[in-house]
Amino acid sequence: MSNKLKFFFFSFALFFSMSSCDEDFVKGDSSQIEIYFKATYNGAPLVMNDRYFYDGKELIFTKLQFYMSNLILKNGDKEVDLDEIELIDFTSTNTSPANASIGFRVVSGAIPVGSYDGLSFGIGVPSDYNSEKPTEFSSTHPLGQSSEYWDAWNSYIFSKIEGKYDEDGDGQDLETSIFYHIGMNEMFRTKTEIDLNIDVIKEEVTVIHVELEVVDIFNDNSGMIDLSTNGTTHTNPNSAEEMALSNKVADNWVNAFDVLQ
């Protein structure tokens, strides 16, 4: 079966499974839930192309995005699937302080009322999807863009941070490029948050905010990443140095997320 056919059958199956889920919800009570992903820099909403300080030197972000997959709300061992795959693209949402403080809205669906204590999502494209290519999907599907795929890895680019940095610290040009392109199955990470206290109440919209503190992607227990020496990685599997940096950045992405209630 060709991949396109596979995708077709898969969508069909998905459609059926979704419609049967809906039926369950109709039986019990269900309510709307909305999840907003927000990016901040040192606590303030991160605005693309605005200048920030890192290590005393100015920097801007020109791209910030990641694939969010298998978003699940949990209650003990009960799980509710909220979203399978989404390209959370702050580049398009965070264009002004006002827009950035709203963030990227991910889900607005109905789930069973009750209390939930956990939330998890993947940072990256799960391996089954990652064996596909953008050409298998329509241009409006999150996996349908050739810009998000790196042929040399046979993988989607799980996360991208791109920007520029005033390496010489003269306060003028941002002469040094930074880019962290993370991908391939081994770079897939899962964020799991437990001990939450989320009540989904009948006839009320439940809103959850997930915040990404971008400084934490560069700054972990081992200290700050030096942008002049470690400012770029393509996650080249033939380069041990790039793989080490990418692994570190992938781990840092996990820790940079925080679920606010």
Binding site: K4, M48, N49, I60, T62, T95, P134, T135, E136, F137, S138, S139, G144, Q145, S146, S147, Y149, W150, D151, A152, E162, G163, K164, D173, L174, E175, S177, I178, F179, H234, N236, N238, S239, E242
Partner: protein
Amino acid sequence: MKTRTIFFLLILFFSACKKDPPTDPNDLTNIEYNPSSYSLSIPESFPILEIPEDNPLTYQGVQLGRRLFYDPIMSADSTMSCFSCHDINYGFNEPLSLSKGIDGIEGPRSSMSLLNVGFFYNGLFWDGRSHSLEQQALEPITNPLELHDTWENVIVKLKRHENYPTRFREAFGIEHKNEITKELVAKALAQFQRIIIAGGNSKYDRVLRGEEFFTDSEFNGYDMFFDLSPDMPDAECAHCHGGPLFTTNEYVNNGISNVNSLEDFIDKGRGEVTGVLFDNGKFKIPTLRNITLTPPYMHDGRFATIEEVIHHYNSGGHYADNLDPLILPLNLSEQNIQDIIAFLRTLEDTEYTTNPDLQNPFE
């Protein structure tokens, strides 16, 4: 005797006509409307061709679009049509730095290749101001620097024409000549442009399918283009010119313009459309299939040769706050540059020129 029979037949003929209710000479309903779907072969590695529901590809629509594309009836002085600036022999591009319209005046930009244009879903033109081929095709006719006509005039010419009304009937089922509109002209042109598919049989594609091998030089170019091995310099090209069509369809500043500030770009490109200062000087990333056959290069045709293009990228480009981070000094040697060019040559594929449906129907 002979004349008499003819006369008699003539009378019969006329009286037969008279018996029918008086018909409108502009009525087209006596022409059969039975469009057949157009079958298109798309290379295996290409994206899905997304066709608007209200403009399905039909044989009749494509053939009508093809005639319009090549017919000078589309310009005010009947000298030019789309093909004048989008020549099949130049990758549906033209070998000029800046396009010239019917009045011989240069426009501000270089023409663009129409190869695989049906797959570009993130906006058309260098600045992305048009959202679809159906919308785009409305522009060149009235643009004073292009075909410099009016739609009223073009529609009158088409209605009066001896066979266009029939062709519009066959393609779109209109019942009356008055139903010929600019929107239908645009739909037909869009259908024709969707079949301009090239690639799938370039050396690059054959190598990917395991049917052929790169030379060493081509392979090294390929390696640098896609940043494969840490032993060769990264040329970073595939970040922007990636995927089967060698473009990600994004808008970026690739550093060709030397400006002091973001306000100073002579052509603001994407910024003109979005109104965002940071988008000034950003342009659509073009496809690189057949690129070695279609100099000059860039939106203003500033580089005459492919060597100049790679030297530009090697330099890291001109600084601007929105210079893309992936444009940076590459440290390529002269040999590296030749290798990248050798790789780009493997993207040449002129098989499409032999597709009769793409050729000029008036030749």
